[in-house]
Symmetry: C2
Amino acid sequence: MRLSRYFLPVLKENPSEAQIVSHRYMLRAGMIKQSAAGIYSWLPLGYKVLKNIEKIVHEEQIRAGHIPMLMPTLQSADLWRESGRYDDYGQEMLRISDRHGRDMLYGPTNEELITDIFRSHVGSYKDLPLTLYHIQWKFRDEIRPRFGVMRGREFLMKDGYNFDLTKEDALHAYNRHLVSYLRSYERMGLQAIPMRADGGPIGGDYTHEFLVLAETGESEVFYDSEITDLKFGNREIDYDSVEQCQAVLEEFTSRYARTDETHDEALFAQVPEERRRVARGIEVGQIFYFGTKYSEPMGATVVNEKQERVPVHMGSHGIGVSRLVGAIIEASHDDKGIIWPEGVTPFHVGIVNLKQGDAEADAACEALYKSFTALGLEPLYDDRSERAGAKFATMDLIGLPWRITVGPRGLKNGVVELTCRRTGESEELAPEMAVEKVAGIYAGL
Amino acid sequence: MRLSRYFLPVLKENPSEAQIVSHRYMLRAGMIKQSAAGIYSWLPLGYKVLKNIEKIVHEEQIRAGHIPMLMPTLQSADLWRESGRYDDYGQEMLRISDRHGRDMLYGPTNEELITDIFRSHVGSYKDLPLTLYHIQWKFRDEIRPRFGVMRGREFLMKDGYNFDLTKEDALHAYNRHLVSYLRSYERMGLQAIPMRADGGPIGGDYTHEFLVLAETGESEVFYDSEITDLKFGNREIDYDSVEQCQAVLEEFTSRYARTDETHDEALFAQVPEERRRVARGIEVGQIFYFGTKYSEPMGATVVNEKQERVPVHMGSHGIGVSRLVGAIIEASHDDKGIIWPEGVTPFHVGIVNLKQGDAEADAACEALYKSFTALGLEPLYDDRSERAGAKFATMDLIGLPWRITVGPRGLKNGVVELTCRRTGESEELAPEMAVEKVAGIYAGL
């Protein structure tokens, strides 16, 4: 993309309404614009990051054998009356009346709807195991929406639901989700620690939250520092293997890690003192096993091998897709702006032309642009007639991990400058070597 | 995908509520499930088709130089009061009151919101031309939703908005949209004819609708039969070229083609009688140029080269993404089921194992499955222990364009059977030749 043809409305000033760094940078980098309290438009740059995160989530869910579908945003109140949650949910549920006066709601979650789909179509244990998921916009009418997309009212979430014949099978589904979530977050450049959590309104006595450590996190977290050394890495996993998934669960959850909601001082005291950490974290996902909590009242049953009709064991599993955009920024930025991990960056590399209009510099930039595009990488080429300082400031603010600077002086010596956003380190390279180096980094993801 | 692990709840009976063929087949093929009047869940098979259509729309919009973003589903009523449309829109607008009693609405379209984004961030003619678009769920509270996804209440639409300094530039944007729409529909296997249309509530004195001919179409259409011979084909086009885009507009709109709303008997009579056609059509898209209708009242202005502040010229351009799923089925089916065009099919090829459990047949199917997957194609392998007739009926119903049938008898002669869904023609081929033939068809798309 050429910046002269893009829509990137960066702001020079810090917007006064933004209290945390991700909100501030998302506004300043032209990623979002608030259209109503807690409701945002995703401007082109923000949209690209959102889609990159969504893509990783899809790929990892499909890899785990989970099946994508899509439920609508609006739901009938009747289903929620059946589960008993319509009255329980309180004012965070946006209740709507249609032109015929029928009670509807903007779905804050989808246990009822998916259970209804299941019971309408599945009747035999032979159709199990089954895990369906979708990525859809949801709404929670927060009384005080704030922190930008971190606590908005309309938000994008992946929610998945497993249906299994037995508790044992459902716990395998739980473990599969845990593994797929670890992989997903790592691909986004995040370390998200699974912490024992509280069931809340969805219910469930077996649940973990995934927390990203960040000073601005809404939760206080307590953990054994050994946990931050764990990496999922590139290991191969067979998602059908109960043992392999269970082993990952044990590896990543056996050490102490809890939020303030479930924190237990006595247990924490058993962690060697030098490994005890108290910090803050941002919740970016949660997995639940809740057994027959919805299947029983809603009649989601199957006939088992003995011809008995039994309620299925279910769980639900969520990833906060739009919230992750903010969480990644909270975890990865400096005082100049955002630092995107390569896995989610909106453009793979920035090209800064120090002397727009100089025939040699323009040609070199165009050649770089074509080389990257031919390799399937997306460059953002700042082809505006701005001074170098303004171009650098924009690139630093929007946080592309790699920048190539092209100017007449370097070109005389046959080089361009390749700069890493995270370290700030630069090196001079022949243009084709710079392309090769950047391409190699992305090929290794 | 192995069918034994998929969620494909096909129905044997015709659902009584479905009046038109696309609705009937979408329910029977397990593509959708109604969750409330005019509101559907997209089951896995339907979701895949929806995503394929969405992908084509994205690719063609980006090719035309239009920039993707995403606006929220819920909007504040204030913006609609500013344009004067809040009261005009009538009961089809779903009005919502949040917990603080603020007036909101579920967006039926986004002229106000995009104009607000534009005026907040763009001030100079140098930032033009600009075309932003998004693909998002919208809601129209139809009094009598019917025909499945063809006239649902919650529906997925691509809507794009161009901002230009002059009427001339805006008409070029209009033409770019026309060209990109022609390409999009052709890639979906559809012939959609641009017809002179009526502005309706969006306004605009320059507008075309795109109609797909189908007996169940909601509009009566009148056209010169020469129009159906026109193909966009694989021609290269420079979207920046005013002349090239204008030439396509003229080629595709110079012959008589109108819906009942704009039909003119006198003009139609000038078409040679043997070329006059009266038929029915389904609207799958519409483009508008509406000048300064929104930019003037909402103050969306730029400073031009003479330092004068002028309102921008705008247009809006929509494609009915979820509606297209139904429209494609209306245009492409037979009495056995759907016939997907290769461009949108949910799976590229079906593999039917005539004797599940037979070692040789199982191995041959697995080998085909792996070959297709390795080529980046998605097979649907019916690995269930069902009789052949039931497997064929399912494949015919869900409409995959190509089917490979594998049985012990053929394998003895070293062949499998490759069947074209559309023609019903079969040929016996060595398995690797069948893979090569199918791969060749998709490579040519």
